[in-house]
C-alpha cells in the first residue's frame, strides 16, 4: 500500500482494500464497493459538474461535499453514474437550512433524513414506489440511499455515541430512500405541490422516524378515523413539539379518496383539524409544556403555539400548520398506510432540490 497522492491510495489486493475501509472508519459497518479512480471519474463525467464544486460543508464536522467526494461515496454505495444526479440533489436538499442536518445528525431523537424521489427520473432509473417501498430488493432505492448515508458518514463524521447522540436511531441510517408512485396516483406529486415544475425531477428530504404501520381501509370516513387516531400518539415528538410529519398512503387509498371527491389537501386539512389531543394529555407527557421550560421556549422564539397553552381543555394539533403534514402516495394496493413522525419543531423539515441532469 502506498499513498502517492493525498486524495488516493495505491493498493494491490481488493480484500485488503475492503478491510482498510473498515480500519480507517471510512464505512459505517457494511462493506463497500471500492472507489477506484476509474469508477469515480466515470461517476463525475456522468453528472457534467466540476469535480471541485462544493455543495457546502456537511455537518457536524464540516467536510466539504465536493462533487468528487460525493462521487467517491456514490461508488461506495453501489451507484451507477446515472444515479449520481439524484444523490447530488438529495444532498442539496439535506443541506438547506430548514432541514437542519446538523441537528438531525446529532439529536437524541431517532430521526433520519429520508430521500423521496419524484419525477421522470424515478421511472427512468426504476426506483421502487410500490410494494415494499421502504424495504429491500431495488438497486436504485438501495444504492442512492446508501450513497447519501455514506456521504453523511464520511463528510459529516456523525459517529454514534460521539458526535451522533441518537438514543436508538433506526435502520434507515443504512439507507433511506423511496420514490413516490406517480402513475397510479390521482393527486399532484409531492415535488410539484412543493413548487417544482410539472415534469421535473426532484428529491425531497424529510427527517423522520421509521414507518409506523396503520391498518387503513374502507370508505374515506373509515380511513380517516384510523389515520386520525394513529398520527398523534402522546409520545411522538410531533404531538409534544409540533414540527412536521409524513403520512404515506398507498395508491388504493388515494384512489378511494379521489373517487369520493377528496383532494390531498382535504385529507391533510381533516387530519390537522381532527388529529388533536387535549393539552392536559400533552402536559402529562412532557416537561417542555410546563413552566418554566415552556416559558423559556416561548421567550426564545420557539413553540409559538397558536392556541391557549394555559387552558387544559385546549385541543393541541399534531403540527402547528396543516401544511406541515406531508402526504406521499407509495406502496402496494392493500390496506396499509404509514406515518413517519418528524423530529418536532427542532428542524428536519422537508426541503426539496431539483435533479439536474447533465447538459441541463
Amino acid at each position: 500500500m502506498s499513498n502517492a497522492h493525498p486524495d488516493s491510495l495505491q493498493i494491490e489486493d481488493y480484500g485488503q482494500a475492503v478491510e482498510l475501509f473498515f480500519e480507517r472508519g471510512w464505512t459505517d459497518g457494511l462493506p463497500v464497493v471500492i472507489p477506484t479512480r476509474a469508477l469515480v471519474d466515470a461517476m463525475i463525467a456522468g453528472c457534467g459538474r466540476d469535480r471541485h464544486e462544493s455543495l457546502g460543508p456537511v455537518p457536524p464536522q464540516g467536510g466539504e461535499a465536493t462533487i468528487e467526494k460525493l462521487a467517491v461515496n456514490a461508488v461506495m454505495g453501489g451507484c451507477r453514474p446515472e444515479h449520481f444526479p439524484v444523490v447530488i440533489a438529495a444532498l442539496e436538499a439535506m443541506l438547506k437550512p430548514e432541514h437542519n442536518l446538523n441537528g438531525v445528525t446529532q439529536t437524541t431523537h431517532m430521526c433520519v433524513s429520508l430521500a423521496i424521489v419524484n419525477g421522470p427520473i424515478a421511472r427512468e432509473l426504476k426506483f421502487n414506489s410500490r410494494d415494499g417501498v421502504f424495504g429491500n430488493g431495488n438497486r436504485s432505492n438501495g444504492a442512492v440511499g446508501r450513497a447519501i448515508r455514506l456521504a453523511i458518514w464520511n463528510l459529516g463524521a456523525a459517529v454514534p455515541g460521539e458526535t451522533d447522540k441518537a438514543t436508538l436511531s433506526h435502520p434507515g441510517e443504512w439507507s433511506f430512500c423511496i420514490a413516490e408512485e406517480e402513475d397510479d396516483n390521482p393527486w399532484e406529486p409531492l415535488h410539484v405541490e412543493r413548487g417544482c415544475p410539472p415534469g421535473s425531477s426532484a428529491v425531497t428530504a424529510f427527517a423522520c422516524e421509521g414507518p409506523h404501520s396503520i391498518h387503513c381501509s374502507g370508505i374515506p370516513d373509515e380511513m380517516l378515523y384510523t389515520l386520525t387516531e394513529s398520527v398523534n400518539p402522546p409520545g411522538s415528538n410531533n404531538m409534544l413539539y409540533g414540527g412536521q410529519t409524513l403520512v404515506v398512503l398507498n395508491p388504493l387509498h388515494a384512489e378511494e379518496f379521489a373517487k369520493h371527491g377528496w383532494a390531498k389537501n382535504d385529507v391533510r386539512q381533516y387530519l390537522w383539524e381532527n388529529a388533536r389531543r387535549p393539552l392536559s394529555e400533552v402536559l402529562a407527557a412532557i416537561v417542555a409544556h410546563r413552566e418554566p421550560v415552556r416559558k423559556s421556549q416561548i421567550e426564545a422564539g420557539r413553540y409559538s403555539f397558536r392556541y391557549d397553552v394555559r387552558n387544559p381543555k385546549t385541543l393541541v394539533p399534531v403540527t402547528q400548520r396543516p401544511e406541515d403534514i406531508h402526504i406521499v402516495v407509495a406502496g402496494g394496493r392493500t390496506y396499509f398506510a404509514a406515518v413517519l413522525p418528524g423530529w418536532g419543531a427542532f428542524g428536519g423539515y422537508a426541503a426539496t432540490a431539483l435533479v439536474r441532469k447533465p447538459g441541463r
Binding site: L9, T107, L155, P292
Partner: protein
C-alpha cells in the same frame, strides 16, 4: 481479486487542513473580565443562574447571546459578536 497492478483508490473523507483553535490562556480571574454566554435556549433557568453567579459572585461582565435555533450552528454574526469578549462559554458538558 489480486491484480498485477495496484488499484488507485480514492479517499472518501474530507481532509481538514485548518489548525485547531487554541483555548484562551492567561486569565488570572473572572473579576472584571467580559464573558460571552452563547445560549442554545434550552434551559433558561440554568443559564440565568450561571449568569447571576458569574456576575454577582465572581464580578464578571456577562453578555448573553441566544442562538436563533438551539440545534443548529450559531450564525457567524453572533459568533463574531461573542468573540469580542475576553472569554466565551459556547457549550456545557454533562
Amino acid at each position: 481479486m489480486q491484480g498485477d497492478h495496484a488499484m488507485d483508490i480514492m479517499i472518501p473523507v474530507w481532509q481538514h487542513t485548518s489548525a485547531p483553535q487554541l483555548a484562551a490562556t492567561g486569565m488570572e480571574g473572572l473579576k472584571g473580565s467580559t464573558i460571552a454566554i452563547v445560549d442554545d435556549g434550552f434551559d433558561k433557568s440554568f443559564m440565568s443562574r450561571l449568569e447571576t453567579l458569574l456576575r454577582d459572585v465572581h464580578g464578571a461582565i456577562v453578555e448573553t447571546f441566544v442562538k436563533p435555533l438551539g440545534s443548529a450552528p450559531s450564525p457567524k454574526a453572533l459568533l463574531d459578536a461573542a468573540a469580542k469578549s475576553r472569554v466565551a462559554i459556547v457549550g456545557i458538558g454533562l
